[in-house]
Symmetry: C2
């Protein structure tokens, strides 16, 4: 490994000058040239570990997500990466697998590795951010809320729930069920509220409890809940899926039973990037995941650069893609 000293020797300057050349401070043109040439020749790459030990910070940000296999989060990761790499930062992707302990481990690593900041989609409301906040590092919370006074980027969840349900009502469906995520997760709760408000308004006697199901935010969760709903004495004629994977699971079950949408109405909150459905059969409330990622990254970078304004929360609007095929 070639160091700043090797380069200095070859260029006939001091190590300090080499450092200056690589950090853009006042150095005479000739010395700059000499240093660059020597660096080229010796294939010198600055040692980031040494640099970050000295600077007490590294140009890396941590992105902690609960499910690396969910396209919603990878799309977001993509957005974070775009914004970060444009600013010369790299992104470490950490998969908490929805486990608070794993999440805590990664947050610990983030500080122990001197990372500049963290973007996190919390695994639950138990997420403890103090280890990183106490070091003064900025945190941006995405997708979900937390009790901490930090920047956040969230989706307009209630609005998404309303839009999904309303599209189904407009298409003529009446018994609209809802399959949401875990009861403790606030995004899930907000989306459910949107659904509940629309169905209750449409029919005052609507028995929301009978048609609401809580699932995991996974394909399997959607499958199980859909099966339960279909087994009901008086099954629904439509369903709102609380996230993309639940939507996939629900549609799989319907397809297997020959109840292809729009025979039963289906609206999904979240995009379905790899489905093979006709786009006219299902209403999709697209959540701008990639945009959420870039927004979060930009906010974090501002904080890293020393921005001290009070914490902000950005709420992202979503775009509704209504099924055109009605039953």
């Amino acid at each position: 490994m070639t160091t700043i000293y090797d380069v200095a020797k070859h260029a006939g300057v001091s190590p300090a000058t080499v450092s200056r050349v690589f950090n853009g401070t006042n150095v005479s043109a000739e010395k700059v040239a000499a240093v660059r040439e020597a660096a080229e020749l010796l294939k010198f790459t600055p040692n980031r570990t040494a640099r970050s030990l000295r600077l007490q910070s590294s140009e890396v940000i941590a992105l902690v997500i609960p499910d690396i296999e969910n396209p919603y989060f990878t799309e977001m990761a993509r957005g974070v990466e775009d914004a970060a790499s444009e600013a010369g930062y790299s992104v470490v992707l950490c998969n908490s697998d929805s486990q608070t302990e794993k999440e805590a481990t990664y947050l610990g690593i983030a500080v122990a590795e001197h990372m500049s900041g963290v973007i996190i989609a919390p695994a639950s409301e138990k997420t403890d951010l103090t280890p990183v906040l106490s070091t003064g590092r900025p945190v941006v919370v995405v997708d979900r809320g937390t009790g901490y006074d930090v920047d956040g980027v969230v989706m307009a969840n209630r609005v998404a729930g309303v839009a999904a349900t309303q599209a189904l009502i407009d298409a003529g469906y009446r018994r609209i069920a809802y399959i949401g995520g875990p009861e403790q997760i606030d995004t899930a709760v907000e989306r459910a509220e949107g659904w509940r408000s629309v169905v209750s308004a449409s029919e005052p006697a609507f028995d929301t409890d009978a048609l609401e199901r809580f699932a995991t935010f996974r394909v399997e969760g959607g499958r199980e809940a859909m099966q339960e709903l279909l087994a009901l004495p008086h099954p629904p004629d439509a369903v709102v899926a609380g996230n993309n994977l639940i939507g996939v699971g629900a549609i799989q079950v319907l397809t297997e039973r020959g109840l292809t949408p729009p025979q039963i109405g289906v609206a999904v909150i979240g995009s379905l990037p790899f489905t093979t459905l006709s786009p006219t059969a299902v209403t999709v409330v697209r959540l701008p995941a990639r945009h959420m990622g870039t927004t979060a990254a930009k906010m974090l970078l501002e904080r890293i650069r020393g921005d001290k304004q009070p914490a902000r929360t950005v709420v992202l609007r979503n775009e509704v893609q209504v099924a055109s095929a009605l039953r």
Copy 2:
């Protein structure tokens, strides 16, 4: 930030002893207790940057993939993460976006950050591994081959191509087209060879050139190629998709035109994790992506621990899930 010196002072020992306690060497029971207590009290976390500067290595491995939004690669990432975190290593996920320059940047970062090793699914055959190999760090190449003498884990691509095509033949299809990936990528070429060998054997006069298409390994690539094939004067009665995303694109186009499988036979090389298709309509040759990830991680960890045996390449068998609905 509390350091080893703070802990040493509180515990009434030397910094070296604190270090020893955290690295499991001979320290008397009393001192261990004193150090642990002080560390607890002061919320001490070892500084990984300093540690890796000193050790010239960090317990981090880099995983470089060409498309973070492809479930095939995220599934693989999941496997890598499982094996690595079990061994106390963390994984930095880098998205090269199929660009050789981005890939080179990340490889540079991997060495500049003293990462212990890298697992890479190369963006192309131009990938230059020398910057990392020359530092003595181990590399495991996954999914695709390279010209380097390093460990690798690949799928049985030719076999997969044969299996996909044979399933279609067995189901009675005769004009079987193939939509593959970019011509320069060896996995794509091998899978195509499998297809070609089966169709040529089935009918000596088979005009393979007319029915072979090269696409990008993306949904859009599959869509375009499928459209071209359908516009042919004498279109195919079945198609083999060279990867999961191409399969999604092809099936989307077919569905939009009302040609739902198995009206046209479809076989896909790679799993379709988020499709809503009836599983009986499409033949899927599952590629064990997660297993590829864990295998690669284990091989890399062995090398990191000093294993010096000659380079190995592991070929992973795949599992065929034949469509049961025949036309």
